[in-house]
């Protein structure tokens, strides 16, 4: 026996060294070099965009974790969700989304099966989907200046973004979709009995924690912040604020910079309203190359508003500031504003080779007729470009949802025109959805709109009915500039890291989130720039440069944002660069509800005031604060398995103990000593 064992072991050794030779190493393994690496492989972080909790005076909308802890629920596809006992994480595709959320709001027993929702919206679905609009059929109908609130401007809408959901909803990005699919494909192979794949949602909203469920209470508690931001206005040429006489009448051009969708961070708003914004900027760029603006009869003012999606916060606050003649609007007054031209959605005007836009007027008056005539002159001067401007259908109840509604409510005598790419109802089938992106618009439509607007504004400013073709014909919109700007504001590659934007500011994010966001800190016309969004800062710097006049040949540099002369502003001064001082009238105007007041670091809601008719119907939107938001997926074992492992460990330990005791007694017996 003693001689037999060593050869046995020698054979075992030989076999073991020979065994690895014919075995091929199957596939690549992710090399785990440390415990954090192991944790990263175990807990797969999923990239995406959340739906967050928003509150108004009467309640809440949006999504949130139902309690204070993370939501952990097994993943299941929507079609497999039939009879389940506990809440699950449902995988919903973009085309199932509207029906799903409608069903959740109507069917309580269905809603009780939902623990969390992951929405897959890959590019493959965009072709299948004809339209998706989570907004209402008549967005912001309560602000309309006309009675017909049942008119369906957006007939295919589902209104799902205005309801409250008691579970977290997360839109998966492209990388998130592939991570989840790769993770789930491992499931199909083995261990269905004692493991399950779960998603863990960490989307606890502070208003849920604090138990504050409407705007008034949450603002008091400090668990939310009001929606808003900073609008920007600029005048061409700069206004001499100190001399209050010799003020010319003003032609005001308006666009908005904010959109919204079911998911806070994925709302490009390409057609509505960013196409209008880009058209405005294209027109400003074209007009900045025209000489002799100070000789024209009228003053041009460009206004880009934010917060328009959430109760026309930008326009209401702007009009409010005009009434109070505050610093933010120094140089303007509402009596001077003669005409208003708004540029709405202009990204989908191209059809059959022609760009068609519709001019919706607020009322019939000599001023609106003048604007329509100017539009016609501009259209005719651009005859080669196949652009058509048509008046909107007279059977429309009035102007479509736009900032002009706020202007009209304030002053029903406002003479204004809004230029849109639709007539009786929206052509944008993805209005206020996460799919209203660059592929939803046509850049040539935006260029056409910019060309028309530029020439219209020149015609209005020069107040001449004869189309002086030489001056008008020299106004050209730079199409490559428009396309570059569209890529900056409506995509993540290059996004705000594009050269055009980086020339003016140093952006904090690459992906433009055109959601208005919350207004932080004290609202003022000279805000702390860290609280102003990237797009607002870009617009301020861009408009300031384009509308500036050069005095002499010298340009002085400025750091810390201050210039020596009062009419100068310091532009391009971010990221430790030295800025340039230019003569320009460009200001920030805070955009927030007229029902709110900022006092000593806290927001309070003012009581209803009958003189502020829009404030009476204002829901006063706020957004809940939160700590972190994230989703990860991992595999869990059933507790029976865990307990089995514990029992096995205890058994092994006990058996070993018994074995040792037996061996000890044997040895002591053998020795009869110790």
């Amino acid at each position: 026996m003693a001689t037999g064992l060593p050869p046995l072991l020698a054979i075992a050794f030989l076999i073991s060294t020979l065994l690895p030779l014919p075995i091929s190493l199957a596939g690549e393994i992710a090399s785990i070099e440390s415990v954090p690496d192991l944790q990263k492989l175990m807990y797969v972080a999923v990239d995406g965009y959340p739906c967050v909790r928003l509150l108004n005076l009467s309640g809440e909308i949006g999504c949130s974790n139902p309690g204070l802890s993370k939501v952990v629920a097994p993943i299941i596809k929507l079609k497999d969700l039939k009879d389940v006992a506990e809440p699950h994480t449902v995988l919903v595709t973009a085309d199932e989304m509207e029906d799903f959320f409608t069903r959740v709001s109507n069917d309580v027993s269905f809603a009780s099966k939902i623990g969390g929702v992951l929405v897959e919206s890959g590019s493959s679905f965009q072709q299948k989907l004809k339209g998706l609009s989570p907004d209402k059929m008549f967005p912001q109908a309560e602000f309309s200046p006309y009675k017909n609130a049942d008119y369906k401007w957006n007939p295919t809408a589902s209104s799902i973004m205005w309801k409250a959901y008691n579970f977290p909803v997360y839109l998966l990005s492209e990388s998130g979709i592939s991570a989840v699919q790769e993770f789930l494909s491992k499931k199909e192979m083995k261990h269905k009995t004692f493991t399950s794949h779960v998603a863990e949602f960490n989307m606890v909203m502070e208003t849920t924690k604090a138990g504050t469920h409407n705007s008034e209470v949450c603002l008091q508690e400090g668990s939310c912040l009001p929606l808003g931001g900073y609008s920007v206005w600029s005048s061409l040429p700069p206004i001499n604020v100190s001399s209050s006489n010799n003020r010319k009448p003003i032609v005001l051009t308006v666009a908005s910079m904010d959109s919204a969708s079911f998911f806070r961070d994925k709302s490009f708003g390409a057609d509505s309203p960013i196409s209008g914004l880009v058209a405005l900027l294209g027109a400003v760029d074209a007009l900045s190359r025209v000489e002799g603006f100070s000789n024209l009869k009228k003053q041009l003012v460009f206004l880009v508003l934010t917060g328009e999606t959430w109760g026309y916060l930008g326009s209401r606050r702007f009009l409010h500031e005009l009434d109070r003649h505050s610093d933010a609007v120094a140089g303007l007054s509402d009596t001077l504003i003669e005409t208003v031209l708004e540029i709405g959605s202009v990204g989908k005007g191209l059809s059959g080779g022609t760009n068609t836009f519709f001019a919706h007027k607020t009322r019939v008056s000599s001023t609106t007729n003048m604007t329509l005539d100017a539009l016609k002159i501009a259209q005719d001067s651009l005859a080669s470009k196949n652009i058509k401007i048509l008046s909107a259908d007279t059977t429309n109840p009035g102007i479509p949802p736009s900032s002009l509604m706020a202007f009209m409510k304030k002053n029903p005598q406002t003479s204004a025109v809004v230029l849109e790419d639709f007539d009786t109802k929206f052509v944008n089938k993805f209005y206020h959805s996460h799919l209203d992106d660059l592929s939803n618009i046509n850049s040539s439509s935006v260029v056409a709109a910019a060309s028309v607007v530029a020439r219209t504004l020149y015609t209005l400013a020069s107040d001449s009915n004869d189309a002086s073709n030489s001056a008008l014909g020299s106004i050209h919109v730079n199409a490559s500039f428009v396309e570059e700007l569209l890529a900056c504001l409506l995509s993540c590659e290059p996004g705000l890291a594009c050269n055009l934007v980086k020339y003016y500011i140093s952006p904090t994010n690459t992906c433009p989130g055109n959601y208005a966001g919350v207004i932080s800190g004290e609202p003022s016309s000279k805000p702390y720039l860290g609280y102003v969004s990237d797009v607002s800062r870009f617009l301020w710097n861009f408009l300031a440069e384009k509308t500036s006049v050069q005095e002499g040949n010298t340009t002085s540099v400025c750091s810390k944002g201050s210039c020596s002369k009062t009419e100068e502003v310091c532009i391009k001064a971010e990221s430790n660069k030295e800025g340039t001082c230019v003569v320009s009238t460009t200001r920030y105007v805070p955009a927030y509800s007229t029902r709110l007041k900022y006092n000593d670091g806290a927001w309070t809601i003012l009581p209803q005031n009958t003189s502020d008719s829009m404030g009476m119907v204002d829901p006063v939107w706020t957004e809940s604060n939160w700590n972190t938001i994230g989703v990860q997926v991992y595999t869990v074992q059933h507790s029976a398995y865990d307990n089995a492992v514990l029992v096995a460990g205890i058994t092994v330990t006990t058996l070993a103990y018994i074995g040792i005791m037996v061996a000890k007694s044997f040895i002591t017996k053998a020795l009869k000593q110790d």
Partner: protein
């Protein structure tokens, strides 16, 4: 996998060592010291080896022979260290024996010496288990589990605990065999310990193959049980010999 599973895995790997510690080692302070010093020696050996291999890391993940080389060099180094450890122990044994003579107490019995070598082996085994299993076990206390593609039948932590248990057994009992082999000059025992260690190390390379752990781990346990059997047989023989040799004086 929760706290229950985490404790379960820890007990699987180190439970028998704990039992051994409680029932044998903790009775005598000298054994505790031996255990600690051998743990330290083993960890130092790992540090030296990692220092030697640092320029060649990271090893390519889909070729097996660098790992074979790594295992071979490590085993050789550790076996050399084991011999030095034994030499040191012999020096110490002389000191203890002469001290015992001076104070007219009995010298070290055979069972004492075996317990010392057992403690030494346990020190090696515990160090291995802590280093290769326990240090990876922290994620096991969380809610998630993990399956490796190449060994997809059982969770990663379970297979790691099982392998660690095998190595604890191998290290513990091969130290007893080795010390006896060096003391008696028994060539078989002297050679068999490095052979066992090397074959155990090489068998873990089988886990590189897809589902290789199904073959590799049972074979590893075969080696472990062979070690246990050989040790038991050797101890039994030695005890019988010494009992038959003379009555009270056991060397």
């Amino acid at each position: 996998m929760t706290v229950a599973a985490g404790i379960g895995y820890a007990l699987l790997a180190l439970g028998p060592s704990l039992s051994l510690f409680v029932s044998v080692i903790s009775r005598k302070p000298f054994l505790i010291l031996t255990l600690l010093s051998s743990t330290l020696v083993w960890l130092v050996s790992l540090i030296v080896l990692s220092g030697l291999w640092r320029p060649f890391l990271p090893l390519k993940a889909n070729v097996w022979w660098p790992y074979a080389l790594l295992v071979l060099s490590s085993v050789c180094f550790q076996e050399g260290l084991r011999f030095l450890f034994w030499k040191l122990y012999m020096r110490l044994e002389d000191v203890l024996d002469s001290f015992a003579d001076r104070i007219s107490r009995p010298r070290l019995f055979l069972t004492d010496k075996m317990q010392i070598s057992l403690a030494g082996g346990l020190g090696h085994g515990v160090a291995h288990a802590v280093f290769f299993c326990l240090s990876l076990l922290t994620p096991a206390f969380g809610p998630a589990t993990f399956y490796v593609d190449r060994c997809s039948k059982v969770p990663f932590f379970l297979i790691s605990a099982i392998i660690a248990l095998a190595f604890v057994t191998i290290h513990t009992f091969s130290m007893v065999i080795a010390f006896e082999g060096y003391a008696k000059g028994n060539k078989v025992d002297q050679v068999i310990v490095p052979v066992i260690h090397l074959s155990a190390g090489m068998l873990t390379l089988v886990n590189f193959a897809s589902e290789g752990c199904v073959i590799g781990v049972p074979l590893l346990y075969l080696v472990a049980s062979l070690t246990l059997l050989h040790c038991g047989k050797m101890v039994w023989q030695r005890l019988l010999e010494s009992r038959n040799q003379s009555g009270p004086a056991l060397r």
